[in-house]
């Protein structure tokens, strides 16, 4: 037992030492901002062939040093890359340093390659599990032999809480029994005895075979090197094999792996649908027009109509038809409890609804196979006691043709829909393996926490949407909104000024008090009747709001827009001063005056924010100083003239490259120096807290108006919202009010002249995390952390950073990011001008390019809204210049 004991003790020492530097609370906080971990077990379980987990280690007690892996994380990364290219389903990375030559850094770097990674170490404390998660692992090794039952349970629970899989390693029948009793779903059978290092393949194959019935995902470990070995493991019931030595001993581990993968036997596996990108929301038990309307306005994904007569929420099939007629894109589902085939057929025929939910069955009814024509089939699994049982039941449903599986807290005998407890522990474990929804006592007050903690494929509620026994539109709206709250916190700023991991306040100390004062003043003003009245009046009469929503013919956007796809432009170009910048400038200038400031400084790139601020200052009688880079001054002369006419002082900034970021630096320096009298009106959704949140809120008038206008015009919310992204203010302004809807959000960055560093301004698409101008965000920068001057034909997108909320939304997947080149943007400008009589700014033209691209994948009836953030008069010279040049 000695070698193993030593390794365990050393691991514990390591963990405790690491915890002193980075406490568990900090690790957990970091995890809370991360995207979900790669699904390790699911990759193995649902691979069409025996899956190979390829291992990287520098040495082992049994085999000595492996020459194939040099020192340093780059060596490990190179091997992992080769493994991924050679067809490894997953990888195993040793992080144990004393006998295996491993390190945490190896894992951290290797996990980024994309193949789900196992942290192979001697895990004895929950801290190590959380650490694995933060390093990017999808699974952690837990060796039964080294743990008590309580410790084993604690580690499996920690893995579930941290959102990764536990590979529970057993060597004999006693180990296996303990693993299964602890509800392990992923079991590794190690043919090697960890005390003697002896390998007994026969015994391990027998143990695998005995484990088959449990339904666990099985991995065969140790001692395999030939295709025959793989075949034997597959025959014994293994889903995957873990191979290290056989690969690392060979001259080219990648090639050796390729050969083994080629010979890996096929295995039957159920076809499991993909996890939805975001949790789906089902509002169940609707029985009146009020409820249905609320579901539409809230943009629910699914709406359930209860057919089982025993339920207080039952409606007839004919009533369901009536109610569903206005649903548009909300998917209707008829909810049954143990129906016969004829019941279902009749109801489907009468209601015209081809979605069903089947509760009350222990197993999928045989007649389901004959109903493949149905669009949606939700199979209900009732109160499973273990994750393994739930997974087996769910697989049975999917194999029988279900499109979704719902796990209910209610037992089979009880009626569902009446509240009861949602089986969160089980559903959490299940969703690591396959998509499953959860129901049971969910409502607006608890669903956000359940989504964050359990990561279900969908959430379902009935009684939680009612008040005094009838559908409550407020509760329905609140339920949908809460369910869709981003688990990583990207959709709202927290008390520390962060959106998920991004944001914050990295500024010189001198700015802390002014920022605190600004934050306090804003918190009051945004709810103050007098401020809001002034703001609304200026929005209406000075800015000219609401701006129109205008549908343009497809040809004005692209050549191949499919018929029936509707494209709407939100006309921020019609706002006073010709761009959306005025929304923010007026709001902040009004706030500055309210705070008693007599001087306002601003930075500007294209000049639009400078002009907008100068206009607001002229109206409000405040001195205005605008910092503008000399390069920008040269390419946006009309705006400079306008600012002068409006009475603003324009200070040219020649330092650095003379562009937006230098202007921002200089504006900050001025603010630092003149902080008592001066307000800084920041022009985009970037900068230190509270600017990103404040600017987003002021610009949200764009999205709020769009939402109302689209509902009125089309009866529903758009499928896609598109906006260009520089600092991100026009984008976040359009997107924020759609965050809780199903609308896809597409941000288009400046692709410039290419993907090379310095050829574009694609901080989200091509950049890396960093800190600039007070916020932790995404930057175009060198590896060493020097910010690189971006390039774009449009001055307004020419910023090396991006607003932190956009960085967070992109990281959590809510925001899709793409880019458009300089030349494509110019072409889009011409197209819109010629075919719709609207001259868009070059910035906005980038959004049009992306709209044209994505529209080709949409079908008739799809609705796209594009933020036409500004007019292009200021760009006439640039566009002419492009035409004149060869």
């Amino acid at each position: 037992m000695k070698a193993l004991d030593e390794l365990v003790a050393a691991a514990r020492v390591r963990a405790r030492r690491d915890a002193r530097v980075t406490p568990l609370s900090e690790v957990r906080r970091q995890v809370s901002t991360m995207a979900p971990a790669p699904r390790f077990e699911a990759a193995l379980r649902y691979a069409p062939r025996l899956a190979v987990i390829a291992e990287v280690k520098r040495s082992s007690p049994s085999s000595g040093r492996y020459a194939a892996v040099a020192e340093g994380p780059e060596a490990a990364v190179a091997i992992v890359r080769a493994y991924a290219a050679a067809g490894a389903t997953a990888v195993s990375i040793l992080t144990e340093p004393t006998r295996f030559g491993g390190s945490d850094v190896d894992l951290e770097h290797s996990a980024r390659i994309g193949a789900p990674a196992l942290r192979k170490d001697f895990t004895v404390e929950p801290y190590q599990v959380w650490q694995a998660r933060v390093l990017g692992a999808g699974a952690v090794l837990v060796i039964v032999r080294t743990l008590s039952d309580a410790a084993l349970r604690a580690l499996i629970d920690a893995a579930a809480a941290a959102g990764i899989d536990a590979l529970v390693e057993v060597h004999d029948a006693a180990d296996l029994e303990r693993a299964l009793a602890a509800d392990a779903t992923l079991v590794g059978v190690n043919a090697r005895n960890l005390d003697t290092f002896a390998v007994d393949r026969e015994a391990s194959l027998r143990l695998l075979a005995s484990a088959r019935a449990s339904g666990a995902t099985l991995v065969a470990e140790s001692g395999m090197s030939t295709s025959q070995d793989l075949a034997d493991a597959a025959d014994a019931g293994a889903h995957a094999v873990l191979i290290g030595t056989a690969l690392l001993d060979s001259a080219s581990p990648g090639d050796r792996l390729r050969a083994l993968v080629a010979g890996a036997p096929e295995r039957p596996c159920p076809t499991i649908p993909e996890h939805p990108r975001r949790v789906l929301v089902k509002t169940c038990g609707l029985r009146d027009a009020v409820g249905v309307q609320a579901a539409i306005r809230a943009d629910a994904d699914l709406a359930g109509f209860v057919m089982s007569a025993a339920s207080p929420r039952a409606v007839t099939a004919a009533e369901a038809r009536e109610l569903a007629s206005g649903l548009r894109t909300v998917e209707p589902v008829l909810v049954f409890r143990r129906p016969s085939a004829t019941d279902v057929d009749a109801a489907v025929r009468t209601s015209g609804i081809d979605g069903i939910q089947l509760a009350g069955f222990e197993a999928p009814p045989p007649w389901l196979a004959g109903r493949a024509a149905l669009d949606t089939v939700i199979g209900v699994v009732h109160r499973p006691s273990t994750v393994r049982d739930a997974v087996l039941a769910a697989e049975a449903w999917y194999s029988a043709g279900a499109t979704h599986v719902l796990i209910e807290g209610a037992a089979i005998a009880d009626g569902g829909g009446s509240g009861g407890t949602a089986p969160t522990n089980v559903v959490r474990g299940v969703n690591r393996i396959l998509p499953a929804g959860i129901a049971g006592g969910l409502d607006a007050t608890n669903v956000a926490a359940v989504v964050r903690d359990v990561r279900p494929a969908f959430v379902d509620a009935a009684s939680g949407l009612e008040r005094h026994g009838v559908s409550d539109p407020r509760r329905i709206g609140a339920f949908v909104r809460s369910a869709r709250m981003d688990p990583a916190g990207a959709d709202r700023v927290n008390a520390r000024g962060r959106f998920g991991a991004f944001g914050g306040r990295y500024v010189p100390e001198t700015l802390i008090q002014p920022l605190n004062e600004l934050e306090a003043a804003w918190r009051v003003a945004r709810r103050a009747p007098d401020y809001l009245a002034d703001l609304r009046r200026l929005q209406r009469d000075f800015i000219g709001r609401p701006t129109p929503l205008f549908e343009v013919p497809g040809i004005a956007v692209g050549e191949a827009i499919p018929t029936g796809v509707r494209i709407f432009l939100k006309r921020e170009d019609l706002a006073h001063t010709g761009a959306h910048k005025i929304n923010n400038a007026v709001g902040q200038a009004l706030l500055a005056v309210r705070m008693g400031k007599t001087r306002i400084v601003a930075e500007t790139g294209a000049g639009q924010h400078g002009v907008a601020t100068a206009a607001a200052c002229a109206l409000l009688g405040v001195k205005c100083v605008v910092f503008m880079g000399t390069t920008d001054i040269a390419r946006q002369v009309p705006n400079v003239r306008r600012m002068h006419l409006l009475g603003a002082e324009v200070h040219p900034v020649a330092t650095g490259n003379g562009t937006l970021r230098d202007a921002l630096n200089e504006a900050l320096r001025d603010w630092v120096t003149n902080v008592e009298t001066t307000a800084y009106v920041l022009g985009s959704a970037a900068g230190p807290h509270p600017y990103p949140d404040m600017v987003a809120e002021l610009q949200s008038v764009i999205g709020r108006e769009s939402r109302t206008q689209l509902l009125r015009e089309t009866g529903r919310l758009p499928d896609v919202a598109v906006a260009s992204v520089g600092g991100g203010s026009n984008a976040i302004g359009l997107f924020r009010p759609f965050l809780d809807a199903r609308t896809r959000l597409v941000g288009v960055e400046a692709g410039g002249r290419g993907d090379g560093l310095g050829d574009n301004a694609a901080s989200l698409g091509l950049g890396t995390p960093g800190i600039l101008h007070g916020a932790f965000t995404m930057l175009t920068q060198t590896v060493a952390g020097q910010v690189v001057e971006p390039h774009s034909i449009s001055a307004g997108l020419d910023y090396p950073g991006v607003g932190p909320q956009l960085a967070a939304l992109a990281a959590s997947g809510r925001l899709e990011v793409t880019r458009a080149s300089d030349s494509d943007a110019v072409e889009a400008l011409h197209r819109m001008t010629r075919h719709a009589g609207i001259l868009p700014a070059l910035e906005s033209s980038h959004a049009l390019v992306a709209a044209a691209r994505l529209a080709t994948e949409l079908s008739a009836g799809a609705i796209v809204v594009v933020n036409l953030s500004g007019r292009g008069d200021k760009d006439l010279d640039i566009v002419a210049g492009v035409e004149d040049s060869p």
Binding site: T22, Y506, V675, G770, L772
Partner: protein, 292 residues
């Protein structure tokens, strides 16, 4: 809680100057400006000229807290390929040449965290740095980074300015392990003609509140012996930045040495009456009074 090794070394330098009846003189230079060799010569010259502590600026592309002289120097150094690595090399070169004076790295967050803070801090510590000053890191904004700095054996200096409210001043005092950096004016780095009238009262107030828990050094705008004398009387140390960088640009390492020597001459101060509340600098035990 014990002080990080580097912090203790910095405090010892302050204690040494105090014992010799002087205020400590801290000189600042941008690493790799105008080039690695001259930068090393200038740093050596500053130490030879009598600087007790040296701050080495990590060049960054966007130095928002710096005025024209330092910003330009930094950006030129970046253009020449400088950054965190070149600062580390300068520090290592000074150590290799046998310099024992405390060396601080002063730089913005981004170059420090770009390749992983832990690695960057370990590299700086092994190069021989003693402490860190990060102008765009307010105390408490990133407590994990503060932990990593201490774990690497480095001290840290937080800044306070005239509009920093008392709770934050207190926070900066508790979090600063090497010294407290007092900026007695509103603005960025850059030589000023005279010490602002509000500067001295502010400095004295901070010194009183600090009550000996950590050395207090004052900077931003210091360029002449008069400044050093005036501010030095009310502080444990005086920091000179832009003036040194400008001297280097005007007359090379020799001019740096001359300027520093001139300023060093102005650092002696009249013996103060003993204050029974004041504790001697460099007493590590004070730290155990701080909340972790």
């Amino acid at each position: 809680m014990t002080l990080p090794r580097g912090a203790s070394r910095v405090r010892a330098a302050f204690a040494g100057a105090d014992a010799a009846g002087r205020t400590a003189l801290i000189a600042y230079l941008v690493a790799g400006h105008p080039d690695d060799q001259t930068s090393l010569a200038a740093a050596t010259a500053a130490l030879d000229g009598g600087a007790d502590v040296l701050e080495i600026g990590i060049p960054f592309s966007d130095p928002v807290a710096d005025g024209p002289v330092i910003a330009a120097a930094g950006q030129a150094a970046v253009a020449a390929g400088g950054g965190l690595a070149s600062a580390g090399r300068l520090i290592a070169a000074l150590r290799a040449a046998g310099r024992k004076e405390p060396l601080l790295a002063m730089g913005y967050m981004n170059p420090l965290v770009a390749q992983g803070a832990r690695t960057a801090l370990d590299d700086l510590a092994s190069a021989g740095a003693d402490a860190l000053i990060i102008p765009d890191l307010p105390a408490g904004e990133d407590t994990q980074l503060e932990r990593l700095v201490a774990h690497a054996g480095l001290g840290i200096c937080f800044l306070v300015s005239p509009n920093t409210l008392p709770p934050r001043v207190e926070r900066a005092i508790r979090a600063s392990t090497a010294f407290l950096y007092v900026v007695p004016l509103f603005g960025v780095t850059g030589a000023r003609d005279q010490v602002a009238t509000t500067a001295l009262p502010f400095l004295r107030r901070i010194r009183t509140v600090t009550d000996g828990r950590v050395p207090v050094a004052v900077g931003f705008g210091v360029s002449r012996p008069e400044h050093v004398r005036e501010l030095g009387a009310a502080a444990d140390g005086v920091i000179v930045g832009s003036a040194v960088v400008a001297a280097l640009e005007e007359g090379g390492p020799a001019r740096v040495r001359d300027l520093v020597a001139l300023l060093a001459n102005a650092t002696s101060r009249p013996r103060r009456a003993p204050d029974r509340r004041r504790r001697s600098l460099g007493a590590h035990e004070r730290q155990s009074r701080q909340r972790p």
